[in-house]
């Protein structure tokens, strides 16, 4: 590659990076500014003195620690459960022989993506309140699993599609039944794919706002998105705590996603199969 092309490539990569990070940079320095400085004019691109006041306020006044814990527990459990369930359903869809049935199921799964969430909210609420299932984190967890299961299954199926059935057939000739061959042979090869499913699910669940607002009432059960939303009042947005809150809530997803995207790419690549 010529030097000119190299420079072009590096410039392009740099531009992408700057565009991606700019909002994050802006929010981070806003969270580190003193409250009065946030609305000052002209705009400051670096706080005149770094203040962690917003963060202090966030954790003391706003009880953010509890929300963080709730979000973490619900997201981890739901994402993990979704991963396991989709593992089975994805495998099944991949290996199923009846073409028409398979396509109908796939269509049903894609169909769920066409549904605007808002029209299910009210009937769901009415249904669950009848069974006293509202204001429970366990209910929320189950709803979250449902929320991501369709896409997770679709993803899982595509991962399993890339693994030739010959491997299982070989192991079954050796005497394993289907479950055993599943666990011993196939799953290890799809580990990257599973990591991908887990992290997509985790990110979507962690960020989910509407179900959480609707189904959780008690303060001690709220999740992070609800907490962030509560920094918006009739008086508008309190940007000091809001920016601190946004930074804190972005970090886990950024970290998980950072690790995961490596696996996603590896998982989606056909090169995951040897020989």
């Amino acid at each position: 590659m010529t030097t000119f092309k190299k420079v072009l490539k590096i410039t392009a990569l740099a531009l992408y990076l700057i565009a991606a990070l700019l909002p994050f940079y802006w929010i981070t320095i806003t969270s580190l500014k003193d409250s009065k400085e946030i609305y000052s004019f002209p705009l400051k691109y670096w706080p005149s003195k770094i203040s962690f006041n917003s963060y202090k306020q966030l954790f003391s006044f706003a009880n953010f620690g509890i929300y963080f814990r709730n979000s973490a527990i619900v997201s981890l459990i739901a994402a993990f459960a979704a991963m396991i369930i989709s593992m089975f359903s994805g495998y099944a869809l991949s290996r199923l022989k009846m073409k028409r049935f398979k396509n109908r199921i796939l269509l049903a799964l894609y169909f769920t993506q066409m549904i605007p969430g808002f029209i299910i909210m009210a009937p769901l609420f009415t249904m669950l309140s009848r069974f006293q299932m509202t204001d429970k984190l366990s209910t929320l967890t189950i709803l979250y699993i449902t929320m991501v299961i369709a896409f997770s299954t679709i993803m899982a199926k595509s991962f399993f599609d890339r693994i030739p059935i010959s491997l299982e057939e070989a192991s079954m000739i050796d005497g394993c039944n289907i479950i055993q061959s599943l666990f011993k042979i196939v799953f290890p090869l799809t580990l990257p794919g599973l990591a991908a499913i887990f992290s997509f699910a985790f990110v979507n669940i962690w960020n989910e706002l509407f179900l959480a607002t609707m189904f959780i009432f008690s303060d001690d059960k709220m999740t992070i998105p609800v907490a962030l939303n509560s920094f918006i009042s009739k008086a508008g947005i309190s940007w000091d705590i809001m920016s601190a809150g946004l930074v804190v809530s972005l970090l886990p997803t950024m970290i998980i996603f950072a690790f995961a995207q490596k696996y996603i790419i590896a998982g989606l690549t056909e090169g995951a199969v040897k020989g």
């Binding site: 609305y39 004019f41 609420f125 009432f217 009042s233 008086a235 947005i237």
Partner: protein
């Protein structure tokens, strides 16, 4: 004999003790104007209440402001266990329609503090069917906030008393090159409250039960006096506010005021606490709303109140709490922390916090009914919930020059006509 009586006494005490202990009632109280500051004060008040009322606990539910109304509505409609619900002026009719609120007249009859409720408070309580379904807690009435320090710097030494004075002054001090404008314009999100305030001041025969109608039953928009008012409003937008103001909500209005870009701001009293915090009391003051050419201005009174769900199982205890929080002392305390106007006339007269300083502007307006007439919005009309969106759409188009004033007014009138 003595032994038996003694035993009986012990048994009696025991039984009473048991029932007293087992009678811890937990009330579920949902607030809708949630804000971190106010929730904290509410929790303090609840703690005080629980200390003086053993046997009653209050569980405060605080959904985020943006979804709070939907939450409360959904919970009421699906009969979730609730005992006290904060009701807004916008939602009261809906709840009554769906038979979700208890009639509070019998309770109020026996309430001593009811005597000092202000006229406006009594009016607000009986918004629907002339029956009290709520006890109002706060009032939001517009006042004119003025950056006295900025005016001083600009060499202005008077405060406008009429609408035209206000508009002309705002235009005069506007200098875009210095990023100096005049008026904190409200472009979106219930912006009709502001345009109505200015437009109706040009009339003198508005119907106090429906601010959109004149006393002879016609919708006010097409009245030539209103047209004049609306033209002036557009002039204000064109010449004395940043273009961006078409997208300004509460946040932006306050920010512009605090940063000095627009030294004039019309807003509710709960803004006082906010501006004190962001700016400092010494930099500004509040004066009564300027009057129109007829020497009058029509003021809308926004409010929220507390109601008891019709299906609540603890109505008596819920009423105890409502009485407590609506008493002159506690109500005054809440209002001082949170900012809006209290519900008792005694508070206005006796508490220096409200009778002097910035709050005296509102006191003045309340005490001069010949100049300031309280008019209410048609909250009971089924067309009310959708009005904000419709008004905003055409107002924004008009301000941006996309449609004429005639067309705008026609569409608005069409909406309400029936």
């Amino acid at each position: 004999m003595k032994k038996a009586r003694f035993f009986l006494l012990i048994l009696l005490v025991f039984l009473v003790g048991i029932t007293a202990f087992s009678k811890v009632v937990t009330l579920n109280f949902i607030e809708v104007l949630t804000s971190p500051g106010r929730t904290k004060v509410l929790k303090d008040i609840i703690a005080d209440f629980e200390a003086t009322h053993p046997g009653i606990k209050v569980n405060l539910i605080s959904p985020p402001y943006e979804q709070a109304d939907q939450k409360a509505t959904l919970m009421l409609n699906t009969r979730q266990p609730l005992d006290i619900v904060e009701v807004r002026d916008y939602t009261i009719k809906q709840y009554v329609n769906n038979r979700r609120l208890e009639n509070l007249e019998p309770y109020i009859e026996n309430w001593a503090d009811a005597k000092t409720l202000s006229v406006v408070a009594n009016k607000a309580a009986r918004t629907v069917n002339d029956t009290a379904y709520i006890v109002p807690q706060f009032f939001f009435i517009k006042g004119l906030f003025v950056r006295t320090d900025i005016l001083k710097n600009l060499g202005v030494n008077y405060i406008p008393k009429t609408m035209s004075e206000l508009v002309e002054l705002c235009i005069a001090i506007t200098d875009p090159s210095k990023n100096q404008y005049g008026f904190g314009f409200r472009g979106k999100s219930w912006e009709f409250k502001f345009s109505d305030l200015i437009a109706t001041s040009f009339l003198s025969d508005i119907d106090p039960t429906n601010i959109y109608k004149t006393k002879d039953g016609k919708i006010y928009f097409s009245d030539p006096r209103a047209i004049e008012g609306l033209r002036m409003y557009k002039r204000l937008f064109d010449k004395a506010t940043p273009k961006d103001a078409i997208n300004w909500g509460f946040n932006e209005q306050v920010n512009a005021f605090v940063s000095g870009i627009t030294p004039f701001l019309i807003q509710d009293p709960d803004t006082v606490a906010l501006v004190d915090n962001m700016l400092g009391r010494e930099h500004y003051t509040v004066v009564p709303i300027p009057v129109g050419p007829s020497g009058k201005a029509y003021l809308d009174y926004g409010f929220t109140g507390l109601g008891i769900p019709s299906y609540s199982k603890h109505k008596k205890e819920a009423w105890e709490f409502i009485k407590y929080i609506s008493s002159p002392e506690v109500n005054a305390k809440l209002c001082k922390e949170y900012g809006p106007l209290p519900i008792h006339t005694s508070t206005f007269e006796n508490d220096p916090y409200f009778s002097t300083g910035v709050y005296s502007a509102w006191g003045y307006m309340i005490n001069h009914p010949e100049k300031y007439i309280f008019a209410s919005y048609p909250l009971n009309s089924p067309k009310w919930p959708g009005w904000a969106e419709v008004h905003q759409q055409y107002m924004q188009s008009f301000l941006l020059g996309k449609i004429s004033l005639e067309e705008t007014v026609e569409k608005w009138t069409e909406y309400w006509a029936e």
